[in-house]
Amino acid sequence: MPLIDLPSTRAEAWRWADLGALSAAAALAPIARAGHEPHFLDLPGARLLFVNGVLDEAHSVLDQVSLGHLRGGEHALGGRATGIGWSLRLDADAAADPVQVVHIATGGENHLPAEIVLADNAVAQVVETFVGAGWSNRVTRIELGSAARLGRAVRLIQEGGFTSLRDEAQLGTGASLVSTFLGAGTAGTRIDGAVVVGESGYAEVGGALLTAGEQRQECAVRVRHAEPNGQSHQLWRAVAADTSVASLAAAVEVARHAQKTDGEQSLRGLLLQRTATVNLKPELEIFADDVKCAHGATVGELDGRALFYMQSRGIPRPRAQALLTRAFVADALDRIGNEGVRDAFAADADAWLERTL
């Protein structure tokens, strides 16, 4: 078993991390690559297929994406992903077709860096899908120029092992980042993010983590408003079944002079069984006085009155539960701008509900 040097869960950002699962995933014996269904959606634009972190050129269309050596950075997990990675760089005012990236893991560990660099006013969409089994570790550096816009959607549907993501984003003046994550596989996941919002910037980081069995999924995302007039929303939903653990840690930080910041967090957890756990940590760290920052967090079960109401209209209880749970999750996926992508993500969430309820 490879020895992995990981942070201690005594450190605040790692309190709920399932670091044991990481080591276990890294030690997974190679498995056969299941089928050839590459999980690409019917969209124009670049298609990148990475098998264990290596580009499968035969099944990929690079379009405006290039490959090159990238540094992983400082982060405890992301930092391991130094090496050859993919890079999307757009010039000012450019707009790219959606970039799709599919990551297939077949056991063991694999690490891959990426960068998305948009010059002023450039617009891009990136959709990533994680499948297979093993430890897939990614670091993605995002740099948005003035008024650049990036829509990013990531679905984590690995069947085994662990997926760890580290996003580091820097938003220029008036830039906009909308990142949505869906964890609906059966592997462990950790979504780690650090987003720095510039003047009048706009950041949405959120998603849904659906856990079952003994699975553990978590996010630990920090949005920092470095300049005035920024806006951020972090909307996360967690649904936990069986003995699983879903943890949502979202922080907003407002720097000393970042006045008129509007930061909002909504973290909600739904427990399907008494053996499951939901952990929430909506954190505010504020150093400016003229700001609007609020968060709401709730944990509970489905509304008994709504369940009965639906049953009294003839909908069987499991179906009523599914509909309510779906509505609960939908909030988080609604942020995905592209309808086709949104439908694909919703279908994954539905499949999870079908399996679990």
Partner: protein, 490 residues
């Protein structure tokens, strides 16, 4: 307007009025911390063997521990050898009434302005009876100097003693509960306290008794370089009720002084404890020189069914506050409440909040935290709500609001929510705001000066918590927040 606001905000922080030192003779333990210090304290207190063993066990444990570094505090290294762990006024250690008190100490209390009502009562002033009577235990540096109303309380069966006396007079009761809520190894400062606690208060309310008056302890650090390590233990037997108040002050000194108290509360079936604190230790000057390090462990065990513990705190003092009054809700249907106002100004740092640990069925908790930050201070709410798998039907509501006065301070909210039972309903809300110029202008256009207008708005912001305080303390707390009484009504 910004500068104008700043002026107004500066006015909120009144000068520290309790910063006098009392010039009395003191007996000190040798400076520094060793097993000998522990033995010295225990001997001074005429403690039984088991108590000394208990202390020594804690001390040896402490030597193996490290100071916590996880809170959002910037704590300069503390030299535990450069402090006195025991200081005793050379006046009689225990006295029957305030009349016998050393006149210097008595003047101290007069300057504190707090026990005036009690003094009148003690002097048997006809017709001077205040609306409520309060029994007072006063802890002066390391020693409890006066416990009032003892006889009347005893008629009701209430034991209200300094903890040193209680260890000698009610060893079985003390031994049964001491360290049961806050174990010796709980945390660095609690372990230190377990080894060197000098005095504090013990309260026992027997079954079915509603304590006939408020109980109160005033803590005062006076001597230089002295740490104060008081220990409070309150046991409310079945169906009993007690309201307990705690006030704290210290003189202005350039050095930092350490205050590491432990408070343990136990509520049995149907018992209720209301614990209120107005903490006004010396906060240091505007440059952050001096002030008290307030590292306190307060925890309540709601062991009985239908038991209830309510913590209310107004935290305005100390250079650094590290304090999380908590409730372990073990009994079914038990209730925990935490109401807090924490004000930080200048270079103060406060990291305070609560833990609500839901173990029993249908347990409920309410958390209302109001943080007010001014100057260059940092004010953090840190809280944990945990629901165990066995705890059916849990309800929690948490509201954390921060008010920032000026743009050089920080307000932080770090709530942890850990839920393992689906029938729980947990709701958490938080907001951050400043005093709007509209509010300020509106109040001032009605004739309030800036200071009064700010005080009015701050009072309104904190009202939900101040309302929880017993009357005597509410007045003091409002004063502390720089608020006129009229303002609090409007």
């Amino acid at each position: 307007m910004a500068t104008k606001n700043a002026e107004a905000y500066a006015a909120v922080s009144k000068k520290y009025e309790w910063g006098f030192a009392t010039d009395i003779e003191q007996d000190f333990a040798p400076k520094g911390l060793s097993e000998d210090t522990v033995r010295y304290i225990s001997a001074k207190k005429n403690e039984p063997e088991w108590m000394l063993d208990w202390r020594l066990k804690a001390f040896r444990l402490w030597l193996t521990m490290e100071a916590p570094d996880w809170s959002k505090l910037n704590i300069p290294p503390i030299d535990y050898q450069d402090a006195y762990y025991y200081a005793e006024p050379k006046a009689k250690a225990t006295i029957a009434s305030l009349d016998e008190l050393d006149p210097e100490i008595r003047r101290t209390y007069e300057k504190l302005g707090i026990p005036i009502e009690e003094q009148k009562l003690l002097a048997n002033v006809e017709g001077a009876e205040p609306p409520r009577r309060v029994a007072v235990d006063a802890v002066f540096d390391s020693v409890s100097v006066a416990t009032t109303f003892r006889a009347e309380l005893e008629r009701a069966g209430v034991i209200f003693r300094s903890i040193s006396e209680a260890i000698r007079e009610y060893p079985d009761l003390v031994r049964k509960w001491l360290g049961k809520v806050v174990p010796q190894r709980d945390n660095y400062f609690a372990t230190l306290n377990s080894a060197v606690f000098s005095d504090g208060t013990f309260v026992y309310i027997p079954e079915g008794v509603r304590c006939p008056m408020e109980l109160s302890t005033y803590f005062r650090i006076n001597a230089e370089n002295t740490g104060q390590f008081e220990r409070t233990l309150i046991v409310a037997d079945k169906g009993s009720y007690v309201s307990y108040l705690e006030g704290c002050t210290a003189p202005m000194r350039d050095e930092n002084q350490l205050h590491a108290a432990v408070v343990e509360l136990v509520a049995l079936d149907d018992a209720e404890i209301k614990y209120s604190t107005v903490q006004n230790w010396y906060p240091g000057d505007e440059n952050g020189v001096g002030g008290i390090y307030n590292f306190v462990t307060k925890r309540a065990l709601c062991q009985g069914r239908n038991s209830k513990v309510s913590w209310t705190q107004v935290e305005t003092g100390s250079a650094i506050t590290w304090k999380y009054p908590s409730c372990v809700l073990a009994g079914d249907n038990s209730v925990g409440e935490f109401y807090s106002v924490a004000v930080t100004n200048n270079r103060q740092q406060a990291d305070t909040g609560t833990k609500m640990i839901h173990l029993g069925k249908n347990t409920k908790s309410t958390i209302v935290s109001k943080g007010i930050s001014a100057g260059r201070s940092d004010n953090t709410y840190r809280g944990l709500v945990r629901v165990a798998p066995t705890a059916e039907g849990v309800r929690n509501f948490t509201q954390c609001d921060s008010l920032l006065l000026g743009d050089q301070c920080g307000a932080h909210t770090v709530p942890y929510i850990e839920v393992r039972n689906p029938s729980a309903q947990i709701e958490h809300e938080a907001t951050t705001s400043k005093i709007s110029e509209d509010q300020l202008f509106y109040a001032m256009s009605r004739g309030l000066d800036q200071e009064a207008a700010v005080a009015l708005i701050v009072n309104g912001f904190a009202r939900e918590v101040l309302q929880q305080l017993p009357m005597e303390f509410a007045v003091e707390a409002q004063k502390l927040l720089g608020i006129s009484l009229e303002g609090s009504v409007g």
